[in-house]
């Protein structure tokens, strides 16, 4: 936060090394990381061209996760940051999983135990019918 913070960093709390300051000698090269990211981007763009839905899913989202990991660890320095920062971010992600698990039975599904989401079902049918003429439809 401040020069003081740095001064403080240097004495005690082991804040220095873990603070992600100074010890970049052993840090993986930013440029290599950058090139890797571009490569991954190319793959994720190429993925759909094979027209195989599952392959698309993997190249799209699997690679997004890898890219995210690289940026977070190498660029945001989570690899040399105090562990608590990573736990913080992972906890936030875990919450989203919880949210998804709790909500999807009602919102993602269009029928369930004694209820039916007519509006959504009609919408799907209507759109599918409209699209069935066009080629680019149904992908997953």
């Amino acid at each position: 936060m401040s020069e003081h913070a740095h001064a403080h960093d240097h004495k005690g709390h082991g804040g220095h090394g873990d603070g992600g300051h100074g010890d970049h000698a052993d840090h993986p090269s930013y440029f290599k990381t950058y090139i890797t990211l571009l490569g991954l981007l190319a793959v994720s763009v190429a993925g759909p061209m094979f027209g195989h839905p599952w392959l698309t899913l993997i190249t799209a989202f699997g690679i997004a996760v890898v890219k995210a990991y690289l940026v977070a660890s190498r660029f945001m320095h989570l690899n040399i940051e105090k562990k608590i920062a990573s736990y913080l971010l992972l906890a936030a992600l875990a919450l989203l999983l919880l949210f998804y698990a709790g909500v999807s039975p009602d919102v993602m599904k269009h029928r369930g135990n004694n209820w039916e989401n007519m509006a959504a079902q009609d919408e799907v049918e209507r759109a599918e019918a409209a699209a069935s003429t066009a080629p680019a439809h149904h992908h997953e």
Partner: protein, 239 residues
């Protein structure tokens, strides 16, 4: 103790008494804990008022011997929770999840700010010309199992019949099915219990539970009722 609610309202559906039962069970359990806690609290405050020359004791509450005063009630509470959960889920399953076969199915349509109740009519089938659709009055026959199909035309509403202990929100675009079986003849309130706009307090309806003959008479009086009032298409609610 099952009369806790019946002191205010009769129980007029088959599962009303089950729901009263859960309420009674919870009342007994939490009543015990609540009273116990309050009594102990007051007792301690009275017993340990400041007295000249008497110093407070030094108790960390971290030794095993002290922890047990928290641990024992902790386990007891857990036990009570299990009881409550089992009772609650059993009733819930019976009321909301597991529908007994229906003798008739009525359609309940909520809108700002009125109810439309569609009775299947003599042929006992919905969406046929002899359906009887009327506003703000739900006519039922006693001791008959009904399914209801709940819909809304605009915003959220909630279909609540206190004497049945029944409540279910209506959601535009969705059809929600539930059931009830009236056990008492009479006329009671139907309330909208979900904020639905300015008229929320002004959309009362009544449930009229008649004997078999009474219901038949009512059906007869509604031969060729205004079917147009609720064309089958419109029944899909939101669309």
């Amino acid at each position: 103790m099952g009369t806790l609610i019946e002191r205010y309202l009769p129980a007029a559906s088959t599962y009303a008494t089950d729901i009263d039962g859960v309420i009674a069970l919870v009342a007994i359990i939490v009543g015990f804990w609540g009273v116990l806690a309050e009594v102990v609290l007051f007792g301690l405050v009275i017993a340990f008022r400041e007295k000249p020359g008497v110093k407070a004791q030094y108790i960390t509450g971290e030794q095993k011997s002290e922890m047990k005063w928290i641990a024992y009630p902790h386990h007891l509470v857990l036990l009570c929770d299990v009881l409550v959960i089992v009772a609650a889920v059993r009733v819930w399953y019976n009321v909301k999840q597991d529908l007994p076969p229906a003798d008739s199915t009525v359609r309940v349509i909520a809108q700002q700010w009125a109810w439309t109740f569609v009775d299947p009519g003599p042929d006992n089938k919905l969406d046929t010309p002899d359906d009887i659709a009327i506003n703000d009055e739900l006519h039922l026959e006693v001791n008959r199992t009904y399914h209801y199909k709940l819909e809304s035309r605009d915003v959220l509403h909630s279909f609540s019949i206190p004497v049945f202990r029944l409540k279910q929100d209506a959601i535009p675009g969705r059809v929600i099915t539930g059931w009830f079986e009236p056990t008492k003849t009479g006329t009671w309130d139907i309330q909208c219990t979900e904020m639905c706009g300015i008229g929320h307090g002004l959309m009362p309806a009544r449930v009229v539970i008649e004997s078999a003959d009474g219901h038949a008479a009512w059906l007869a009086s509604h031969r060729s009722a205004a079917v147009a009032a609720i064309a089958p298409g419109a029944a899909a609610g939101a669309k």
